[in-house]
Point group: C2
Chain length 256, copies 2
């Protein structure tokens, strides 16, 4: 699913002014949240991105931390607001804090064009440290709703991420590295697979995440040695008996 | 190394007032840094803690983020200021952001006693999100200098960490979990060992970090299979030929 819409400069300006008004005193200063939302589809690892209005550039879905909200709760809320999904696997993986990470961007120029020069100490103008989470979602269930500043919502192949705003390419890179570690150590793969799957389908997931092929026999041996997969009985279908076995995860590896 | 000193209420009050004065406008609001400093000594994994003046409680060494400073640079500076060490292995592992994580603490009560009621929106009174780093250091090289708010500097066994201020026990727990993962995946052990060591000494490090014993033969097989250890030639010492082999890391696993 995706959307595409048009917005005029006037609408954007009003949207931003409204947002700044609403935000006044509501959020913890200097802290944002960004989420790298991964899906797995057609044997490709995908990342969800939003196009910032009146620019050609995409950005990670993100938001701010309310003063009365725990950080993890804020990450769940941001994800719910952006994707419509609840109860999602969400993992904090990095906090990005280079001093110039958001300054001199196309967005700051756009803001200047629309709003004039905001005072240097204005809330919107300050330096933000971004706490980053990654999410693993079923991309077919994501139901984006259009939002004031974003005119497009799109899944990108991990190998074809465009140049993003701010330092968001770096953040995607860090998220992928962490997903690789977590796939091996926390076995988060179950979050990206259907309930049952062939060994070949599981291998495709690992190849998409690690971005290189695995030898089939080695992969199968490694996976089976982990003791987390159950082979399902073959059901008689009248079709070829050469249909591959189906597997499922015996338990949620994250619930221990 | 450690220190212990006395400070009067008056000195502490003046120290804090001076700090607040100096801090004004200097730091990014709402963001602190905390560091879990690990050392390995006498086969024990140790953590460095500071005792907060006029309390019985210890706290992680930490600091604030200057407005003109990258986050990672701030972490290095904080560590340098607290330990005298430069060029240390430092890894960001977690950002702690529960809304009440520092409120209603013994420290806030102490501040109130010393300074009276600060305004609710005072810089010192605000909610802080803490970006946490862990460091691996040679504890014999740590050279703490006394600081205004801290009256004791001490290494604690990981198994005997006292009740810490704020949510710092949780942060130490998270740091240990991350160290366990990094020891296996990033092979950070070299940062905690001398240049050469016996297999038994390396096993002691792993046992201290994972907090359970390993079977000697399995451990040796696993370590040698990683291809990161070089066995040194035995030198003729005139002593027993049964002296164990010494090993060293063939390369810095982190430099790739």
């Amino acid at each position: 699913m995706s959307y595409l819409k048009q917005i005029s400069d006037k609408e954007l300006k009003e949207g931003i002014e409204h947002f700044i008004q609403e935000a006044k005193g509501k959020y913890v200063p200097s802290v944002t949240l960004d989420t790298v939302i991964f899906g797995f589809h057609d044997n490709k690892l995908k990342v969800l991105l939003l196009r910032f209005a009146q620019t050609a550039h995409f950005i990670l879905p993100g938001g701010y931390l309310s003063k009365d909200e725990d950080l993890d709760m804020a990450a769940l809320r941001v994800l719910r607001e952006r994707t419509g999904l609840d109860n999602i696997f969400l993992e904090q993986f990095y906090t990005s804090g280079k001093k110039n990470r958001t300054s001199n961007s196309i967005v700051s120029q756009l803001m200047k064009d629309l709003l004039g020069n905001l005072p240097a100490d204005h809330w919107f103008n300050q330096r933000f440290v971004s706490v980053c989470y990654y999410a693993l979602v079923d991309d077919t269930k994501v139901n984006p709703k259009p939002e004031p500043f974003f005119t497009e919502f799109k899944w990108f192949d991990i190998e074809a991420i465009p140049v993003l705003l701010y330092d968001h390419n770096l953040i995607v890179e860090k998220a992928l590295k962490r997903l690789q570690t977590d796939l091996d150590t926390k076995l988060v793969g179950s979050k990206l697979m259907r309930d049952s799957f062939t060994m070949n389908e599981l291998q495709k997931l690992y190849e998409a995440v690690f971005q290189h092929p695995f030898v089939r026999t080695n992969f199968q041996r490694k996976m089976l040695s982990l003791g987390i997969l159950e082979r399902l009985e073959k059901q008689y279908t009248g079709k070829s008996h050469k249909a591959p076995y189906l597997y499922r995860f015996t338990k949620d590896p994250l619930e221990d």
